[in-house]
């Protein structure tokens, strides 16, 4: 049982000091989770701490590849509106 940080991570460091297992480490091009150390905070906290502070939707996945903070859950921007806005910008 371990979480995974993927390429949309912006390397903001917010998660690093919160991890009770010191499982998150600095790496290029983005931070990574040591699978052997991560417990998803079970036994320490009600919610995984990196998931609770990460500002980037979709940057942390669970073992099944499910986004822990899905699109729209943190910014409040509906995914359809996000797609529309990107299309408008591209059309300029």
């Amino acid at each position: 049982m371990a979480l995974e940080i993927i390429e949309s991570c912006v390397n903001c460091w917010a998660c690093v000091p919160l991890c009770p297992n010191k499982a998150i480490y600095e790496a290029a091009p983005h931070f990574l989770v040591d699978r052997d150390k991560c417990t998803e905070c079970v036994g320490d906290f009600a919610v995984a701490q990196c998931v609770a502070i990460c500002p980037i939707e979709g940057a942390i996945l669970d073992e099944l590849g499910v986004e822990m903070n899905p699109p729209g859950s943190l910014t409040g921007i509906p995914p359809e509106r996000w797609a529309e806005a990107q299309a408008e910008i591209a059309a300029r």
Binding site: V10, C12, A14, I53, R81, I89
Partner: protein, 497 residues
Amino acid sequence: MTAFETPKASGCSAGSCGAPSSQADGMSDALRARVQDHPCYSEDAHHYFARMHVAVAPACNIQCHYCNRKYDCANESRPGVVSELLTPDQAVKKTLAVAAAIPQMTVLGIAGPGDPLANPARTFDTFRQLAAKAPDIKLCLSTNGLMLPGHIDELAKHNIDHVTITINCVDADVGALIYPWIFWQNRRIHGREAAAILIGQQQKGLEMLVARGILVKVNSVLIPGVNDEHLKAVSKIVKAKGAFLHNVMPLIAEAEHGTFYGVMGQRSPSPAELKTLQDACEGDMNMMRHCRQCRADAVGMLGEDRGDEFTMDKIEAMDIDYEAAMAVRAELRAKLTAELAAKRAGIHDAPAPQVIRFTPRIEPQKPVGRPVLMAVAAKNGVVGVHFGHAREFLVYEASAGGARLVGHRRADAYCSGDDSCGEGEPVLERTLRALAGCEAVLCSRIGIEPWGRLEAAGIQPNGEHAMEPVEEAVMAVWNEMLAGGKLDAGPLAAKCA
């Protein structure tokens, strides 16, 4: 601190932080002495002294709807954006290098790109080292306030004299429209509950800082339709609690920034809306009018960014004599402080402008000039920039009471975000729109084409006051307009009064 005769308390006008001449600026002599060389806290100091931000604080503990946490961008100039994240050791090295190269630098701030107090180890390590290695540089920080109450002792210990708190609301219902979530006690908290906690922490932090004698500036982002009217109440409350300066800044929101407000089409306020709100709050406290909303890694005078000259690889190659640099700073600072003191004394001792004052009950027939907005291409306190080279214009309101800074307009960085603001729009066109509402523009020189375009737009170009002090030049132009009969009271006067 260098010897400096503080200005008299009464009658401070054009030199104060935008306070109208009709009222004292509310600052005591002691307070004015504390901020006299801080470019962000003292309006006239920003023509003389420089500041820098070091980007050591990447993490944040809240989300604001005007912020996008993908902060790494070289081309944007707005808060929360940086090019290069620094370790505390790198930040110290960079600060010492900049302070050697730009001896006017008096202030080092930590403002992000996240929140300094969400990165306490990195922030306080930087402050601790700098307090030892460059004791002449003032340290300050800018925070969202969530973790402020728990860090007051540490701030006081590091001799941090100035703190800015961003307070956009004092009502959790308003806050729920601005902050989607906060991270608090190991949980992510959403909505109104999050806003209530944040507001409580901000207010408590403000009270604790004031009780410790630390100067507090409050920043607020003006978001039309969300907190615009509410900011009047915010201004009253933060003043009552002892904040010494309120800085209302316009929302920056464009779809390409990827922020909630940008993507959802929330509009930014117009310069006129910003000024109206600042004027409405001004009866209650000092309003800051010269904020440039800098990046979290800005370097140099306000309104300029020399960050590119001080990337870490360039700094590593520099050979710096730190002792000599500190001596140069002390000498230059004494000279600039004396110049500024002389200028301030001049303002206080000068006779009233040579115009007839408006005293309707006694002399109702006397003509009086209406207030006029003028844009100035300024550098170091003088009309020193060619129109075509100006990246920003300071906007002054000239009236019988004198010239006062009421804002600034960017010439090339921002557009208003509407459909007419595409990439194909010529720079001159955008500049003309940025200057809307101004009746004159003062610059050191100007080309024939922009001269004609400005005139056609009802803005009188003026290159006759090159290198003159800004406020004197503005009043000279206003007095010419008055003498020329262009400022007779009329419908416009009622609108501007």
